[in-house]
């Protein structure tokens, strides 16, 4: 990094970064709003407001929000706290409905008069509209007016919604959001067996269930244990400045009168802000509904425990593609725009014939595509590391260093009989409550280091260098090992951190940290400054750390 940049970063970003880091570690979830069961109605409004960027800029934007004149919506997941739905937010409120629901959306246009009409498209649904005025793609709400859209949520999945009026400008300005349809019938496999065990393990440690459902689709291969929604978009600030200047110049003009419209060039496109859920790094790491971002309620701060199946709902909301790279493992793509990708022809191999077989690719880089939503499942278990990630040491006097590991049919410490993958007997609490629940047993007690200084097993293949030749990252756990107990054993109570080391991964966490980011790497900047932009940290936490997604 250039000195000048470092200086700039220090002056402009560090206060924000530190504010972010000093916050209790935020976590994510996929929060949204709900309506009446079976017939949810959402009263949305399109409004202008400024949104915050980490360089201190306030960007004039337009967004959907909840109409303050209407009753407040319901909020999900139930465990989320501080939920709210402002009258303008970016992205728009995530609408959460159930398969088969009759969904009504009443949209009121509270944009500046010069912005003209606005509307919402719901790709993937057969929409009936009423009220409003005719537009090219759909019925629109004139300035001050309201339009109503009705459709049946015919099938589960994640889909985008966005403005159908002058989209090159209105979507750039922020008029987009997501609708999630939950499956009507959650397969039994998702609430028994390993998924029940994963939930029991969470509950033992006092964790709440932040899922919207236990399955993404009516398909037992789409069960999941945790979920996050990530919407990718960009901002070219010159477009927003031009829109604001014209809006200000046209205050008081009469809707539809000659000249009462915006003529904002949207090309050539030169974005400077690269957003996940409306925020740039490090703001995306602050909590959902954080008061610093009154119009950007959703964050991007994923956490997961080993073995949990993590559902990712990934949406492209701008007109560029972004190669979103998930460090740590691949993601199995389940569906595109709510359409499950299933095997077309059952195989002739009898063991493999299953109408629910998935056919989507497994990717380590999931390219977001304009207007496309995809669902995928990720997990991390440490299988194949060839060393014990927990740094167990059978010679230790620390009880957490001498835990046992009994492999199930797949080799993991889950408490299921090694011959029985459909085990549904009484809770094996001894295993489910253990810190090393879901450990990969083939590497249990297997050392990493040849001659470690701390209380971890020795005789392994690697020799770690003197810590002085290393620089520690803010999310470094302090040791190669997973979790606070292993890290303290490996490095002593003072750890191997340098005194000036900023620690975003607190002493009671010490998770494995992975960067999830756009791999068009210039997009992990904020207005020419690195770091920033489309950049999150996934934390894989040992069971000792309580993941609280309401934070």
């Amino acid at each position: 990094m250039l000195i000048t940049q470092l200086k700039e970063w220090t002056e402009r970003l560090l206060p924000v970064a530190l504010a972010s880091l000093l916050c209790a570690a935020a976590q994510a979830a996929a929060p949204g709003i709900t309506g009446a069961p079976g017939t949810p109605a959402f009263n949305l409004i399109a409004e202008p407001a400024n949104i915050n960027q980490p360089d201190g800029n306030q960007v004039y934007s337009w967004g959907y929000g909840c109409n303050p004149a209407s009753p407040a919506p319901g909020f999900v997941p139930a465990a989320i706290t501080n939920a709210k739905c402002p009258s303008m937010q970016i992205p728009g409120p995530t609408l959460v409905v159930t398969e088969g629901d009759t969904v009504t959306v009443n949209l009121t246009n509270n944009l500046p008069t010069a912005a003209g009409n606005t509307s919402i498209l719901f790709p993937g649904f057969q929409v009936t509209s009423s009220g409003g005025t005719p537009g090219l793609l759909t019925q629109e709400a004139a300035p001050g007016g309201t339009v109503t859209y009705t459709f049946t949520a015919t099938s589960p999945g994640t889909r985008t919604y966005y403005s159908g009026t002058q989209g090159d400008l209105q979507i750039e300005m922020g008029l987009y959001g997501v609708i999630i349809v939950l499956p009507k019938n959650v397969p039994a496999a998702c609430t028994s067996g390993l998924h029940a065990a994963n939930l029991a393990a969470e509950q033992f440690h006092g964790e709440k269930d932040f899922r919207l459902a236990a399955a993404a689709y009516d398909n037992p291969k789409t069960c999941y244990d945790r979920e996050y929604l990530f919407q990718f978009s960009t901002i070219d600030p010159t477009i927003h400045q031009a829109a604001l200047a014209q809006v200000n110049a046209l205050v008081g003009c009469v809707a539809g009168a000659p000249g009462c419209s915006l003529q904002v060039p949207t090309e050539p496109y030169h974005p400077a802000y690269f957003l996940i859920n409306g925020r740039s790094m490090p703001d995306d790491m602050d909590p959902n509904y954080a008061p610093e971002y009154p119009n950007q309620p959703y964050n991007g701060d994923p956490h997961v425990h080993p073995g949990e199946q993590l559902l990712l709902r990934i949406v492209g909301q701008d007109h560029w593609q972004h190669p979103f790279h998930e460090h740590a493992n691949h993601v199995r793509i389940l569906a595109r725009d709510g359409n499950l990708i299933l095997s077309q022809v059952p195989g002739s191999n009898p063991a493999a014939v299953d109408p629910n077989d998935l056919a989507g690719p497994a990717l380590f880089t999931t390219t977001t595509t304009p207007g496309l939503a995809m669902d995928g499942i990720f997990y991390w278990t440490g299988r194949g590391l060839n060393w014990d990630a927990y740094g167990h040491n059978p010679k230790s006097t620390d009880p957490l260093a001498t835990l046992s590991c009994t492999p199930d049919a797949n080799g993991y410490n889950t408490g299921f009989a090694s011959t029985d993958t459909t085990y549904s007997g009484p809770a094996n609490t001894a295993v489910w409550d253990a810190v090393n629940y879901y450990e990969w047993c083939a590497d249990h007690d297997k050392p990493l280091e040849a001659a470690p200084v701390g209380d971890v097993a020795s005789g392994g293949p690697a020799t770690l260098p003197n810590p002085n030749i290393l620089t520690n990252g803010a999310w470094y756990s302090g040791s190669p090992y997973l979790g606070p107990d292993a890290t303290v054993r490996a490095t002593g109570p003072n750890s191997s951190f340098q005194p000036a080391n900023t620690q975003a991964n607190p002493a009671d966490e010490r998770g494995f940290a992975y960067m999830w980011h756009s791999h068009n790497e210039r997009e992990i900047t904020t207005n020419n400054v690195f770091p920033g932009g489309m950049f999150m940290i996934l934390l894989v936490d040992s069971r000792e750390f309580v993941i609280d997604e309401s934070k």
Binding site: L2, P271, Q321, H327, A328, S343, V345, N349, A352, V353, D354, L358, A359, P361, A362, L363, F364, T365, T367, G382, G384, L385, N386, D388, A389, P394, A442, H444, D445, K446, G460, P461, A462, T463, P465, N466, N468, I469, T471, G473, W475, Y476, P480, P499, A500, F512, A513, Y514, M515, H517, H519, N520, E521, R522, E523, I524, N528, P531, I537, V540
Partner: protein, 548 residues
């Protein structure tokens, strides 16, 4: 004249600064530069067996060892590989003749192999070899390679007997040699790495500093992009783990992941270090290559179910992408009459049906250089990320026509000494009637790139190091005449020239980008992301990959 006295506050500040600097200093426990290449490990316990790939005769079985962890009992598979790379800077030559400054990795082991376009991942018996003379400063592979192939040393640069340990070869290095060779020896792409499934891989990154940018205190790292179930410690993200300071060596330790086309890069300030050139290729060969002659491939894939680490069951693992094929083709290892120069056959993945077989493989990395950014990177100015715009479009660090120049390309460094800067040509020579595997990765940091085949269709067999096979075992391969990748993606393509009536001996085809503005070398309206495909009249020599 008034004496200038430091204030009490300043004294306290300076004292505090001194304390802050001194406090972290620990007793020197180890020298800063060092390499690691154990001849045996828990996983590969017999040193004599670790210098070649043993045949795959069945899954490894394990038994509890004396220290309670599992140790291999039968069928010890794989071997040990080691590689050393420098993190520093260098120059490369663009196809319009411009010399471009880079932040770059260079080879510090396997120099002869790298110069010949081969991977520099060596067995311990090769890596742990001390150079029998005095290495010429600069790039010894260029200065000593006055006649082709005369420089044959592939050991670790700097390796020296450890005087504190009975002159043992234990990873002790002479730092003088490392700096003599490692400074300004950057390559684009970074040194090629290749390992086999079940190998243990010890990759030492030695940070030699960037001599053209003495103002920078840059750390470097290696991110093994796509490594499944990675540990964050060896994932190379400086924010999430550790970064290696100038003057230090760090050895990354990996058990080879599932077969596939991966790639690697530095993860420090990625928009800067990737644009500046710190990008490389790594691929993992499948154990199916090592199946004994005549063994049915389907059976061999079933063997892999016997070790839970290598098992792949879609019912139990949602990320399993090479389950048993839906159709057992009955193919066995090298059982047909196809002529191949290097039996047994090679495969891209553990397919169980022989469908990923190839005769000759090519690693091919797409990248882009913005000359403005590289100039700024050399000249101490603030870097514009919003305005970053590539003007050189590179295949393995070269644009056409350099892509079809055989052998390594060299560039003089600031002291006038020549260094191999771009070791990899991208001439795709296919034996008559044969199949070429293209391992294509993209580390462009600004935009998506398309590569099209003018002629032979591309059979896409894998994406992101995963075989394209659904959970029912059906192959999802597809034919295309172009592929599109963003930065951070890879895929595997087979160019199948088995129809010799269409793909006749001596014919030439092209791989080029239909992003037509990328068919340029900065101001030259010519060149860019393009290379040639040749159908040989006979076979292809696997080492120089030339038609025979």
């Amino acid at each position: 004249m008034r004496a200038i006295r430091p204030s009490a506050g300043l004294i306290r500040f300076v004292a505090g600064l001194v304390a802050a600097v001194l406090l972290p200093v620990l007793p020197a426990a180890a020298q800063s530069f060092r390499v690691q290449c154990p001849t045996s490990t828990i996983t590969h316990p017999v040193a004599a067996n670790n210098n070649a790939e043993p045949l795959y005769r069945g899954p490894t079985t394990f038994t509890p060892g004396p220290n309670s962890f599992l140790t291999p009992a039968t069928n010890v598979n794989g071997a040990i590989r080691c590689q050393q790379i420098s993190g520093g800077d260098g120059y490369a030559t663009m196809a319009d003749g411009t010399q471009t400054y880079m932040f770059a990795f260079g080879p510090l082991s396997g120099l002869a192999d790298i110069a010949a376009g081969r991977p520099g991942s060596e067995f311990p018996s090769v890596f742990n070899t001390v150079y029998p003379g005095i290495l010429a400063p600069g790039d010894p592979a260029t200065s000593d390679n006055t006649s082709a192939g005369s420089f044959t040393y592939n050991g670790a640069i700097g390796l020296a007997p450890d005087g504190d340990n009975g002159n043992a070869i234990d990873g002790h290095v002479d730092p003088r040699q490392i700096e003599d060779v490692g400074v300004m020896n950057g390559n684009i792409p970074a040194p090629l790495m290749a390992i086999d499934e079940d190998d243990e891989f010890f990759l030492t990154l030695t940070n030699v500093g960037m001599i053209m940018r003495p103002d920078l205190f840059e750390q470097h790292t290696v991110h093994f992009h796509g490594y499944p179930n990675a540990s964050s410690f060896y994932d190379g993200v400086p924010d999430a783990s550790v970064a290696i300071n100038i003057g230090g060596s760090f050895t990354y330790y990996y058990l080879a992941p599932d077969a596939g086309t991966y790639f690697w890069h530095c993860h420090i300030t990625p928009p800067e270090h990737l644009q500046m050139g710190m990008v490389g290729q790594i691929y993992v060969r499948p154990r199916q290559n090592r199946v004994p002659l005549g063994t049915p491939l389907y059976t061999a894939l079933q063997w892999q179910e016997g070790d839970l680490r290598t098992a792949c069951s879609p019912a139990n693992d949602i990320l399993c992408t090479n389950p048993l094929p839906a159709v057992d083709t009955g193919r066995a290892q090298a059982d047909d009459s196809h002529t191949s120069t290097d039996r047994p056959y090679r495969y891209a993945y553990n397919d169980g049906d022989g469908t990923t077989r190839y005769d000759i493989g090519y690693a091919m990395q797409i990248h882009g250089f913005d000359p403005n950014f590289h100039f700024i990177g050399m000249t101490f100015n603030a870097e514009p990320f919003v305005d970053m715009k590539d003007k050189y479009f590179l295949l393995n660090g070269r644009s056409y026509p350099d892509t079809v120049t055989p052998g390594p390309m060299q560039t003089p460094s600031s002291d006038g000494a020549h260094h191999f800067s771009q070791p990899l040509p991208t001439i795709v020579n296919i034996p008559l009637g044969g199949r070429a595997l293209l391992r294509i990765s993209d580390l462009d940091v600004t935009e998506y790139q398309t590569l099209a085949s003018l002629g032979i269709p591309m059979l896409v067999i894998a994406r992101n190091a995963k075989l394209l096979r659904d959970q029912a075992g059906n192959n999802m391969y597809y034919k295309s005449n172009s592929i599109t990748l963003g930065g951070g993606e890879s895929l595997d393509v087979i160019l199948d020239a088995s129809d010799t009536t269409k793909y006749t001996a001596g014919s030439t085809f092209f791989l080029y980008t239909p992003n037509l503005d990328h068919l340029s070398n900065d101001a030259e309206n010519f060149g860019g992301l393009m290379t040639e495909v040749h159908i040989c009249s006979g076979t292809v020599d696997p080492a120089p990959k030339a038609c025979t």
